[in-house]
Structures are given as structure tokens and as C-alpha cells.
């Protein structure tokens, strides 16, 4: 009895421990529950067993003080009854289905969703650790944000289900940065019509600009600043999930469509995760990531699982389909997996993961080996004449791009997490992870990342690119850099988060996130306090401070991307944020 009781109590307390009650009727359901605990008005599950009327009347109710007080001495009177055991007919109990299908079938279509809103103000400082640093002169901003998810869930049969989720989010804020993306001479484009009657916009080279041509339009930096001086708001709508579930004989389970996919075990980095379309955001590692359109086959056997994925994102013909397989198996208290991924245009790879426990620490790890790499690499071009001849003198280093498809690459990560619950003082949590990126650079070439960012924005500056007049018949453009090619640029990384929640049983929490690229010794530290003021309103105050040399990965990535203008500060930055979350909840 004790074992089973504690088991259920513990689990429910786990759930309750993170509850910020949002789903409770205004009246006090607690007192009612004691009057008749089996008549929960909120219950969605029909009580099929009617017990006799409760022998005790609200033992917590003090007639003088109302329902809020507790008269502990009176609770013994609950046992002033002749019977406290209700016998359930054994055959009846055994005949119940156990409600296995209760959650698999619904008569109608269920709708639900969630809402979140926030006001985030930021105060950004450049010129850290220099004489030009001025604490009284931050660049301030205020960003209102709202987002919502709406889902439907249709379950006409126990073996068939269709689920879809629609996401709405606001894209709000000052667009001053757009002007910095426009060249000093302006951006000219020509409008026209193609053979199908569609309107076309074509960029016009500087030497072809004709101010008298009515089909040409030029936007200057001043135009952009005028257009975007005010805060603008747009709503983004996306379909993050839309899929159908069905099964064969309760043995093979299928899912076709678009859904979130969990493939690896890493927290900040997960090199074995080859399915999701985006990398983990190290500053928001728990954020949902878009998955591909895929067909999943899941075969659970005993405690183990086997998966097969056919991934049909960006395919033009059947042979473009990617195949991924994984088998999870449990040995003792360790869960391991091995998997493989193949797509004819990408590097084949094999991966293994594990999660286990050593003492009080959970330990996880991943290893990935691939034949070739999908990364587009950069190296310093032998011909630097373009940089030497650059009139504006902002092209420092000419790079060539190349790919590697005839050697092994290896990536691995290992991490741990630890949680300690202080009695009435809150919960301490720590997660740490190291990542070896065999596709990364060892930082032996100074300024390589900064030059790669520039090449990412100006692909025509590739050292291997030839002018139209010089291109031979079999000419192919050198591979272009993608965002994934300039992220995780280093070879060694570490990340960690330390948090203390419910500090001394209050609504105050504290966390610090730290990420570092050990190859170029750059990183960031983000301490944050958060406080739940009332239900549906909480505030958080934090600081984000970066370190590293100019042009290093985490020192000032906004400036690397050119979003701060040509003459922007490239060194470490510091910013303070104050965010108020308002009205968030599920329905």
C-alpha cells in the first residue's frame, strides 16, 4: 500500500510542483472536494463507481472561520463511521476496459491552444572595456510581442488521428537596421513582366542605373530610415505541425506529416540530430524546432524501440528522399541508441547516443561519424588582389569555399545534469555540456569567421568566382555559404546553465547561462532573475555580457552579420533586459 501510495503521490506532486494554477474555477473547489471527493465538477472522467455518501462533512470547515481554516483535531472524527471500505465487485472491476481507448477516440474534434505576450525593453552598450563606454548612454528599445498556438485534434477511430497546429506571432520592433543593409549608393531594381505575365523585380547593377528609366526604382538609406522610423507590427502565421497517426495491428505505428522530432539527447548541441531543420539555439535550447515533412514508422518491442523515417523535405523526385533509422535499447538504467542517415546528395552518417546515471548525476552523450561533410568550408584564397584593390577598403580577406566528401568527420558531445531540492528553499539545477565539432575550425587563421560572414552576405566576393566574361563552358559557381556553415564555427565548445528556482519557497527564481567557444575563446554570460507577480504576470530582469576578440563567434554576432552598420563596434557588448510576461496561458 505504502509503495503504491507514495508512487502516485510523488508523481502528482511533481506535476503540481510546477503548477501556476490557471485552470481552476473561481470558487474554492477544495472544500467541495472534501464534501464529496468523487463529485469533482471539473472531472472529465465519468465516475463509474458510486460510493455511499461521505460519512464526514467537510472536516476542514470551521463554522466560525469559514472554509479557509483547518481544525486538525476534528479530522480523527472522520473515522466515526461504521464502514470505510467500499467493495468493488471483482468481476465488474475486471470487466472494465481500463480506459485504454478513452484517450484514443473522441466523438468530435477537440480544439485548444495557448497564448503568450510580453513587453521587453533592452538597454544595449557597446565599447565595453574601452574609454568610449558610457553607462548613461545605452541604445534602448521596447519590443512588444504576442503569440498564440491553435490546435485541432480529431480521433474518429482508436487507430486513426489527425492533428494540426497553427502558430501566430507578432514581428514587432524598430527596423532601423534595414537601412544599414542598403548600399550607400542605394538599391536599384527594375520592374517588368515575365512571359507568364508575372511581375518581376530585378536588381540593377550600379553601372546600369538610369535615373530616367521609369521602370527602375532606387531606394536609399534615407528612404529606409523614413519608412521604418516608427515601430511596425506584422503577424507571422505558420503551420509547425500537421500530421496523421495510424497503426497496424497495434504493432507498427505510423505518422505522416510535419511534426516536432526528438532525435538526439544533447541539450545545447546535438550533432546526431540530423532530422530537424534548424540547429538548437544555445540561448534558448528548449525552444521548439521545425521538423521536416516525414513518414515515421515506429516499432516498439519489449522496452526497446525501432524507428524508420522517410524524410521528404525539399525533394524533387523519389530518389531525393532521405532515410533515417534508429534503434533505442535499454541496458540496466542506461538507454542507448544507434542510428544512421542517408540522402544521396548529403554525407551519410552514423550516430550513437546514451543517457544514464552516475551517482546523483544524469549523464548523456552523442557521437556522430560521417563520410564527408555537408558543410561548405572556407579557406584564405591565394589570390588576394580583390582585397588589395578594394576601393572602399572593407574587404579584408578573400576566401574560397569548398566541400569535402572523401574523408571521415567526427563529432561528439557529453554532458550532465544535476538537481537538488532544498527543503523549503527551492530547487537547484545544473546542466553542463562539452561539444567537439570535427567540422569546425581551430582558429589558426585570424579573421576567418568575420570574412566568412562577409562572404555569406556577398557571395560574388568568393575567390573562386569568375566574372561572366571569364567563365568557361563547364563553369560552376563555387559552393555558397549558408547560415549553418557559419554557425558553430569553432572546434570546441562548452555550455552550462545553473538555476535556483522558488528561492526560499518564494516566486523568485535565478538562472545563469554561459556559452563559450573554446577555439577562439569567445562567449557569453546571461544571468537572469524572474519573479511571478500575480497569476498571468511575471517579470524578468537579466544581463547579457559577451567576451572575446573582435570578429570572434560570440563577441558581437549582430555586428558580424552587418546588422549594426558598416562602422559598427565589433567588440564585446553588454545589454540589460527587463521583460514582463503578460497574460500567458493555455486553453
Amino acid at each position: 500500500m505504502k509503495k503504491g501510495l507514495l508512487l502516485l503521490l510523488s508523481i502528482l506532486m511533481i506535476s503540481a510542483s510546477v503548477v501556476i494554477a490557471q485552470d481552476v474555477e473561481p470558487e474554492d473547489p477544495f472544500a467541495d472536494a472534501f464534501l464529496d471527493p468523487f463529485a469533482d465538477p471539473e472531472s472529465e472522467v465519468d465516475a463509474e463507481i458510486e460510493l455511499e455518501e461521505d460519512p464526514f462533512l467537510d472536516p476542514f470547515a470551521d463554522p466560525d472561520a469559514g472554509d479557509e481554516s483547518v481544525i486538525i483535531d476534528d479530522l480523527d472524527s472522520m473515522f466515526d463511521t461504521e464502514s470505510m471500505v467500499d467493495e468493488i465487485d471483482e468481476e465488474q472491476a475486471a470487466a472494465e476496459t481500463g480506459a485504454v481507448d478513452e484517450f484514443l477516440v473522441s466523438e468530435g474534434v477537440e480544439f485548444g491552444g495557448s497564448f503568450s505576450g510580453s513587453l521587453s525593453s533592452g538597454f544595449d552598450y557597446d565599447y565595453l572595456w574601452t574609454d568610449d563606454f558610457d553607462f548613461r548612454d545605452p541604445e534602448s528599445s521596447l519590443v512588444p510581442s504576442v503569440s498564440a498556438d491553435l490546435y485541432f485534434d480529431a480521433r474518429p477511430e482508436s487507430d486513426y488521428r489527425v492533428f494540426g497546429k497553427l502558430s501566430f506571432s507578432s514581428a514587432t520592433g524598430s527596423d532601423d537596421d534595414i537601412s544599414s543593409l542598403i548600399p550607400d549608393s542605394g538599391l536599384t531594381f527594375e520592374t517588368g513582366t515575365d512571359e507568364d505575365g508575372n511581375i518581376t523585380f530585378t536588381a540593377v547593377d550600379a553601372e546600369d542605373v538610369d535615373e530616367d528609366d521609369p521602370d527602375q526604382t532606387t531606394i536609399t538609406q534615407d528612404d529606409a530610415e523614413t519608412l521604418t522610423d516608427d515601430t511596425s507590427t506584422a503577424i507571422n502565421i505558420s503551420v509547425p505541425e500537421l500530421f496523421a497517426d495510424f497503426d497496424w495491428d497495434d504493432t507498427l505505428y505510423f505518422r505522416f506529416g510535419k511534426s516536432f522530432i526528438k532525435w538526439g539527447v544533447g541539450y545545447f548541441w546535438s550533432p546526431s540530430d540530423v532530422l530537424n531543420l534548424t540547429l538548437i539555439d544555445v540561448e534558448d535550447p528548449t525552444a521548439d524546432r521545425e521538423g521536416p515533412v516525414s513518414f515515421k514508422v515506429h516499432y516498439p518491442f519489449d522496452i526497446h524501440n525501432a524507428y524508420l523515417y522517410l524524410i521528404t523535405d525539399d525533394v524533387e523526385e523519389p530518389l531525393d528522399t532521405a532515410i533515417a533509422s534508429k534503434m533505442e535499447f535499454v541496458v540496466g538504467d542506461t538507454e542507448m541508441s544507434i542510428g544512421a542517415y542517408y540522402q544521396r546528395d548529403l554525407s551519410p552518417r552514423a550516430a550513437a547516443t546514451f543517457s544514464t546515471t552516475i551517482g546523483d548525476f544524469a549523464v548523456f552523450g552523442e557521437g556522430v561519424a560521417s563520410w564527408g561533410s555537408d558543410r561548405v568550408f572556407v579557406r584564405v584564397s591565394k589570390d588576394q588582389s580583390a582585397a588589395e584593390d578594394d576601393e572602399e577598403d572593407d574587404l579584408e580577406l578573400v576566401l574560397d569555399t569548398y566541400t569535402v566528401d572523401d574523408s571521415f568527420f567526427f563529432q561528439a558531445t557529453i554532458g550532465t545534469n544535476y538537481i537538488y531540492n532544498f527543503e523549503e528553499a527551492g530547487t537547484f539545477m545544473m546542466i553542463g555540456q562539452y561539444y567537439f565539432n570535427g567540422e569546425g575550425y581551430d582558429d589558426s587563421e585570424s579573421g576567418l569567421l568575420e570574412a566568412a560572414y562577409r562572404l555569406f552576405l556577398n557571395s560574388d566576393e568568393n575567390g573562386l568566382a569568375l566574372d561572366d566574361d571569364d567563365q568557361p563552358d563547364n563553369y560552376e559557381d563555387p559552393p555558397a555559404l549558408d547560415t549553418d556553415d557559419i554557425m558553430n564555427f569553432g572546434r570546441h565548445y562548452v555550455g552550462g546553465i545553473v538555476s535556483w528556482s522558488s528561492i526560499f519557497d518564494s516566486d523568485l527564481s535565478f538562472s545563469t547561462l554561459a556559452i563559450a567557444n573554446l577555439s577562439d575563446i569567445s562567449g557569453m554570460i546571461i544571468p537572469t532573475f524572474s519573479y511571478n507577480i500575480i497569476d498571468y504576470i511575471s517579470v524578468s530582469a537579466g544581463m547579457r555580457m559577451t567576451f572575446g576578440e573582435e570578429g570572434d563567434e560570440y563577441t558581437n554576432p549582430t555586428a558580424l552579420l552587418g546588422l549594426s552598420g558598416d562602422d559598427a563596434w565589433m567588440g564585446p557588448t553588454m545589454s540589460f533586459t527587463l521583460e514582463c510576461s503578460i497574460g500567458g496561458g493555455s486553453f
Binding site: M1, K2, K3, G4, L5, L8, L9, S10, I11, A16, V18, V19, A21, V24, F30, A33, P37, D40, E44, V45, D46, I49, L51, F56, I72, L75, D76, M78, F79, D80, T81, M84, V85, D86, I88, A93, A94, E96, G98, A99, V100, F103, G112, D153, D247, T251, Y253, K262, V265, D288, H298, P300, I303, V330, G332, A362, N417, N421, D535, G585
Partner: protein, 252 residues
């Protein structure tokens, strides 16, 4: 004469036997084992719905509801959170010492073992496994008494190891059936920390399962919790219930 001897011997045996019954000490080790086994369904599956209502002064009442499927013979269970709405669809799968937590938002399973904490929560997996009165405690003293209308053994238990949360317990057990009525939990300094009442049970077959539990925090005045159990069933569950596939299918 021979009949009289047999009669005397028989009477003597019954007398001394009755003396033993009256003055002898009940087998408390066996009683603790029976309490441990009371809600354990080794011969059948078990499922039910639990509702957990918790109240703290100055805070909103928290209501959590969950559906539990158990297969004790294989040390397996599945728990699906039904309420509150924003946690609906979260699920736990336990097989032996392994626990997987499923988050329907990210569609992620997180594996952990019974040695560590569950899914970044403050509860430890070992809490899920529960303690064993027979293995973790011994009876230090006992007396008889009455709780309401029920004659009871009042047992004071002392912990046998430091793994348990409370080093000393006092439990009230009915004398006519191995049913716990009340439990008091004490700290190392002998301070009453928590009192738990078991005013209602349901009997399914030969098993007694608490259908209502009241918990009073003796340190934090006004903090109280009620747990109710509904829809008990011992029907055989498909093997597929105790799998990641089932939890994935039932969530939103």
C-alpha cells in the same frame, strides 16, 4: 479416563493457545509487509484516475488529475496528466528503474533512471518507486487504541537507514484488517511534520486501495491536500499501453 485425559489436554492446549493470542505480540514485521503489499497488484493490471487538490493559504487551489495504468508484476506504469490544461498530455512511462517523461509541446521523451530527479523537477525518481515500510522501518513500540470507531494498533516506526524522508513514523492500523487509518511523520528532532489520513478505501478482490487521502502539513498552517481515486479497474491492459508509442498517441 482416557476421554478425560484427552479433554484435559485439549482444554489445556486451547487455554495456552488463547493466552498466547491474548498476551502475545502481533507479528508486526508481517504486518508491515502486508501494508506494503496492500495496494500492489501482482496478479493483475490496475488502472484508475487520481485527482490531486492542493491548497495553500494565499494561493490559488491547484487541481491535478491523472490517469494511471499499472502492471506491478513487471514494474511498469504509465501516468497521463489530464489536468491542468497546460500540462495535459504530459506522460510518464516507468519500466524497471527507467523513467521516461514525455512533453507533448516538444514531443520529446527524456530518459532518467530511478537514481536521479525526474525531468528537471524537484521530485526524485526514487520517490516514484516509494519506500517500503518493511524494508526501511522497524517497529520501535506499539500500543492499542481507538481511532473513531476502529480499534487500532498504534505503531511507532524507526527508520533503518537514512534514505527515507522521515526518520520516525507513527501509524494507526486497524486490528481487524491490515488497513492504515492515519500516519504521522516526524523529523529527527521529533517534530510532527505531516499527518496523513486514509478515511476511505475500496476493496478490489483481496486488495485494499485508498480511495481518499487527506494530507495536512503540520508546519505550514493551512496547507492541505486531498487525493481521490476513481474508476479502479483490474482489467487486463494491452502490452502496447506500456510503451512510448501509446503515450505519443494519446497526447495533444
Amino acid at each position: 479416563m482416557r476421554k478425560n485425559i484427552i479433554l484435559i489436554m485439549t482444554t489445556a492446549v486451547l487455554f495456552f493457545a488463547s493466552l498466547g493470542f491474548v498476551f502475545g505480540e502481533p507479528d508486526f514485521d508481517k504486518m508491515l509487509e502486508e501494508i506494503d503489499e496492500l495496494g500492489s497488484f501482482e496478479d493483475s493490471d490496475f488502472s484508475c484516475v487520481y485527482t490531486f487538490v492542493s491548497e495553500k493559504p494565499g494561493e490559488e487551489t491547484e487541481v491535478t488529475q491523472a490517469r494511471m495504468f499499472r502492471r506491478d508484476a513487471n514494474e511498469q506504469f504509465v501516468m497521463l496528466i489530464l489536468k491542468p490544461e497546460y500540462q495535459k498530455g504530459q506522460g510518464y512511462l516507468k519500466v524497471d528503474d527507467n523513467v521516461w517523461f514525455y512533453d507533448p509541446e516538444s514531443r520529446k521523451f527524456t530518459h532518467s533512471s530511478m537514481k536521479e530527479n525526474v525531468q528537471n523537477s524537484e521530485a526524485r525518481n526514487s520517490d516514484m518507486d516509494g519506500l517500503s515500510l518493511a524494508e526501511d522501518y522497524e517497529v520501535d513500540s506499539w500500543e492499542t487504541g481507538k481511532l473513531g470507531n476502529f480499534d487500532s494498533y498504534i505503531l511507532t516506526l524507526e527508520a533503518l537507514n537514512n534514505e527515507v524522508t522521515y526518520p520516525r513514523l507513527k501509524i494507526w492500523v486497524r486490528t481487524d484488517a491490515t488497513i492504515v487509518l492515519k500516519e504521522e511523520d516526524y523529523s529527527l528532532s521529533d517534530r510532527l511534520m505531516r499527518t496523513t489520513y486514509f478515511p476511505k478505501y475500496v476493496k478490489v478482490g483481496d486488495k485494499y486501495v485508498p480511495s481518499q487521502i487527506l494530507i495536512v502539513d503540520n508546519l505550514q498552517e493551512g496547507e492541505k491536500t486531498q487525493l481521490t481515486m476513481k474508476n479502479p479497474s483490474t482489467a487486463e491492459l494491452p502490452d502496447s499501453v506500456f510503451s512510448k508509442a501509446y503515450i505519443e498517441r494519446v497526447n495533444n
